[in-house]
Symmetry: C2
Subunit: 691 residues, 2 copies
């Protein structure tokens, strides 16, 4: 009979074992037959260990696993972990939870990748101690059992070393000295110190090691907590100038810093193609003085590593990067791997594109729509290796010029394997690099991009507008395994997305959406100055495109307008910085309100000290009120104890008690309340309260 | 920097890729960079593919997977499967469901093991056709696009073969002949026949194959549907005889066959040890004429392959096996791998046991309890390979003597790896062998034993008595992934388990528990004649042990008693045989009743033709009635159409309509109703109804 050719590890035993009477249970290695501990359902583990989870420096990975063995012997286990660049494992004991479930955790102290796994074995000495305690006073003669316990210690001496070895040796001697003092003998064998010493040198010859090494990618804190501001440099311009420059951007930095942003994302800064250049409002026939789309990358004077001459020089750019840093702002560049027909690659590497039978190069299409100003790269090119290496060079070039954050344009239209390779390759050398995936596509594709390496991801937030939609979506993002690998970055608008809600909701909607983005997400961003100036005119009814979009022309924004949201944005970002609760997503918890126009949710700092409760009125038109039903347990509040909520937007203080409390919000003033929840109140307030 | 040593397949790209500037994205093989399809969440898959799922011959495996690629090209995929002894894969196309989810299925036609997996690729021609249809009538000039489509077909010719190859060639020629008839040209390129032919020979050079081969173990139908009867051969005896024999068992067969059982399970039939032999009611000091426990296996005249002389000879046993077969009954033997002190192994292979410092062999203990009549086998023995091989020999011995079903005693107290190896080894040569795991232990251990190979498993049924307990437990067994690997075998009693409920519930409880076991489980069993005679006396209050247990003495049962449940049992088993719905567990569905003493559930045959609805009164004392709220959709019933329910126990007929219907059950007659649900009624009944 042929060998079954299954590759299922779970059934190694079957392989090669179908010849009758073979004496040895191959292919088990020599000792495998005595491994008695089973390990199952290790968590966190994404897709059977195919993909890593994510953390930032200083966070904790809590690992759980089922550990059990045949029979009634005691099982022990450890969580093993190491930085990928370290050789040896560090260990921490697994603690028993319940129902054969065990848990331990470790802290991710350094950037890069950690591996973790679980190991378990039978603890014969602990088992002996447990049984011995049961025998005492019941079993008539325990002398042989005492010898067994003593021998276990003597065997252990060969495995013990260092100080614990010396201590164990001392105990062993004390035991042999007490042979004739049964009581003393028993006390020594059941002592807690010997338990600990024996545990430190248990026999692990037949320990079971979980068959996968799991991985956690450790990023810097900004990967988790960041506030992004997107702006077109060419529009940062006084009315009398034709084209904004990096110098102008430098002058704009204080304005952005005052609003409290820490990432300034610039759309592509490279030369723009002339061939088929788009005109205003995406007019396919752009005239000679059209600014063109920054995403039509590449012209005679260079491609992805060149700078659009009207913006300035590479030195100007470096100045901007440095100046920004001094104000606590990082510059993020756009990675848009596509080319204008004038891009040097087109002539130097036609093999990286698709050539049509008529000899022309295939431009971007979404039939019947055509985008003649863009040539997509062909990732099925036989020369893909040289292509990948070249594109990696582009990223490396900007890293070498001080960039540590990249916003990747449409990653879902390029090869997954390319991104997996590129991000792993770059971060192996530069573990502080952050890649934000600008993929607005199907959910499984968005999650896959996060699994294969993207640090942060755009989300569906812009189109989640009702209480039910927001609750469902953010519960999925923060309370399923998605939270382990997908870091949401929430944008109420982008140059491509002026939602219907923003078009019609007016100022109150801009404020509400900002509050939601900045408090539902530890990372969020906005496209300005369009956002703070509440720009809401669509190109045409039913379109999400901006009228006179900056994608195709230079806009002059009057950022000094009295109705600008800049101060409100600044306040929101200050609240985010002052309250660690808003710098994490995992603790997000929704609380019922008996009014569908009011949404309420809380977040907490990991230590539980800082608690923020947010209530937003989703209607821009009407005052709404309702009864909030707080989950007191989650918030660490006691039903019988008053607590204080302090609205950080209006500085109003309220004293609440119990789970049901009244809220009312007038969207015409501020459409939201951001409460700091103080569990124990200051004395004088207690006094007021009991007066 | 050192290489990261991660083993996470998801991050191969990272390995060895941290030397800057290396030109080739190793370690990806040559073509891997062009694999654009991702495959995730393949189901069914147990523990990341570590363990197989289970089916019986003729069942279907429905496989689902997420398949998607970058960009907008069309993805195609196949489910691949093959019997483990076949070389080549069979394929069936995956059908798109929704949200990037795909599905296909295959039938398990032969005993043994099948492997299955998923493969996906980009279908460039189907993509071209889709885009071409969009261009027509919109795009001015499609001539170049037509050339592209034509070339795709020309390339495909090299991959096409056989009849489809010839057809494709013919079409290619027709196309080139129609160069100047654009309309004809387009029709040919978009024709359905060419679509099919091209699909048959798509370019799979860069197809993605799911990285695991999953396994399904295929058993014979009795693995899923069986009715077990357990009986002690030594008790099958006329009052004037000392000890029952295999001949007596032969005479008892018609009685068992009349009750409708198809498996007769005999406790160990081997010589019983004399040393420390137990007396009646587990008296540690058995006198010379004690029968002893059949589980104290082994004496001077042999061990696990010998037969207790008072039962008869090996020939008598073979006669019994044959006689049983002629009456549709299979004999199941007990595999209890433990030894009495008199077992030949003890002297021949002391290394297979644990020797204490005083030279004695360690007997079974659960401190402070001691079982001097049993020596447990030490699976940590250095000689475990010889031990495993010997024990496999025991199983093989009884297989060679006609046994195909084994009930394994306390498998959870022996090495998991041993069972995994033994079952894989035996079933590789004898795929029709059935192993029932008698493990009453923690849930994860019970599930693990099923995962590593046991065909059927005992359950917690005996202790699940309330409506809530039964609903929760059987929902877990039939509506979670557990259903894929764990086949429940439900026993209301065993020689070790006389539940408190049976002790106090009387006849009605025996009938109710029998009905529950036989209809909740496609496989169930009972320990008789104790069960049909409603034996309910515990050894002492609070104990689940029988008084005068057959485990320690020979009992004389009067199976002719008028109050025997034999006829009711026979009726229940006939109903099970006549109704395929009761021969499957996966379709189990509970239906609400507004009375906690009434539990209702339905099952259906795979084709949905046979529908059984069971209602049981859980109270043995009182008549209970209530309103049943049927899930009509599940049952394939229409709210506006009357349907007939026919109680197969009482032959009462009812006409019901809609979801809410009234039920009333008097436990003093029959504590249950087993309704055959007939969706469309016979004409004359329709007539009655509309009269």
């Amino acid at each position: 009979m042929k060998k079954p050719r299954t590759q299922d590890k779970g059934h190694e035993a079957a392989r090669g074992r179908i010849t009758p009477g073979s004496p040895v249970p191959s292919p088990s290695p020599m000792d495998e037959g005595r491994r008695r501990v089973a390990i199952e359902h290790v968590q966190p583990e994404i897709d059977g260990g195919r993909y890593p989870i994510k953390r930032v420096v200083g966070e904790t990975v809590v690992v759980e696993a089922d550990l059990f063995a045949d029979g009634h012997d005691l099982v022990r286990g450890v969580l093993r972990y190491r930085h990928a660049q370290q050789e040896g494992w560090q260990e921490t004991p697994l603690e028993f939870l319940t129902n054969d479930r065990w848990q331990a955790s470790f802290e991710t102290r350094e950037l890069g990748r950690y591996c973790y796994g679980v190991m378990g074995w039978i603890d014969h000495f602990a088992t002996w101690q447990r049984d011995m305690r049961k025998r005492l006073g019941v079993q008539h003669d325990v002398s042989v059992d005492l010898v067994i316990g003593t021998r276990l210690i003597e065997e252990a001496l060969s495995r013990a070393s260092g100080e614990s070895g010396r201590q164990l040796k001392a105990i062993a001697e004390a035991i042999s000295a007490s042979q004739h003092d049964a009581q003393r003998h028993i006390e020594l064998l059941l002592g807690e110190d010997v338990t600990a010493l024996m545990a430190a040198c248990t026999d692990r010859r037949w320990a079971t090691t979980y068959d996968k090494e799991l991985v956690v990618v450790v990023d810097r804190p900004r990967a988790r907590f960041s506030a992004w501001y997107e702006m077109f440099p060419r529009s940062i311009v006084e009315a009398d100038q034709p084209h904004g420059t990096f110098r102008d951007c430098e002058a704009r930095l204080p304005y952005i810093a005052d609003m409290g942003f820490d990432v300034l994302y610039l759309p592509p800064i490279h030369p723009i193609g002339k061939t088929h250049r788009k005109g205003k409002n995406n007019n396919p026939r752009g005239d000679s003085d059209s600014a063109g789309s920054p995403w039509a990358i590449g012209a005679r004077d260079g491609g992805h590593t060149a700078i659009h001459s009207q913006l300035g020089t590479l030195d100007d750019f470096s100045r901007l990067v440095t100046a920004a840093k001094t104000q606590g702002i990082e510059i993020a560049l756009d990675i848009a791997f596509q080319c204008s027909p004038d891009h040097p690659y087109v002539t130097e590497h036609p093999e990286w594109f698709t050539t049509r039978p008529d000899g022309t190069i295939q431009f971007a299409e979404n039939p019947p729509k055509q985008y003649q100003d863009i040539f997509p790269i062909n990732f099925e090119s036989p020369a893909y290796r040289e292509l990948w290496t070249e594109l990696r060079g582009v990223v490396q070039y900007w890293i070498d010029h001080g960039i540590r954050i990249f916003r990747v344009d449409n990653p879902h239209t390029k090869s997954f394997l390319f991104w997996k390779w590129l991000i792993a390759d770059i971060t192996a050398r530069h573990p502080d690099i952050i890649f934000l995936a600008e993929a607005f596509t199907r959910p499984k594709v968005m999650y896959h991009l996060a699994k294969i390496g993207f640090t942060q991801s755009y989300t569906y937030f812009a189109w989640r507008t009702t209480k039910a939609e927001l609750t469902d979506y953010f519960t999925e993002l923060t309370h399923t395994e998605v939270r382990e690998f997908f870091r949401p970055n929430l944008w109420p608008n982008t140059p491509d997305i002026l939602t219907e809600q923003l078009q019609h909701g007016g100022r109150a909607t801009f404020m509400a959406r900002l509050t939601l983005a900045a408090t539902l997400g530890a990372s969020y961003g906005m496209y300005g100055p369009a956002f703070e100036l509440c720009e809401a005119r669509p190109q045409k009814p039913g379109s999400e495109e901006y009228l006179d979009s900056e994608k195709y022309e230079i806009r002059h924004w009057d950022i000094t307008r009295a109705d600008s949201l800049r101060d409100f944005i600044g306040l929101i970002n200050r609240i985010r910085r002052d309250n660690p609760a808003l710098q994490h997503d995992a603790t997000l918890q929704f609380h019922p309100v008996d009014n569908d126009q009011l949404i309420a949710y809380s977040k907490q700092s990991p230590d539980g000290e800082n608690v923020i409760l947010v209530v937003v009125n989703l209607s821009p038109h009407h005052v709404h009120s309702g009864w909030l039903d707080l989950d007191l347990a989650t918030l660490g509040l006691q039903a019988d104890r008053p607590f204080q909520v302090h609205d950080l937007l209006t500085h109003a203080y309220y004293q609440w008690q119990g789970s049901r409390n009244y809220v009312q919000i007038d969207p015409h003033s501020v459409p939201a309340q951001i409460f700091a929840v103080r569990r124990t109140m200051r004395r004088e307030q207690d006094f007021d309260y009991f007066l």
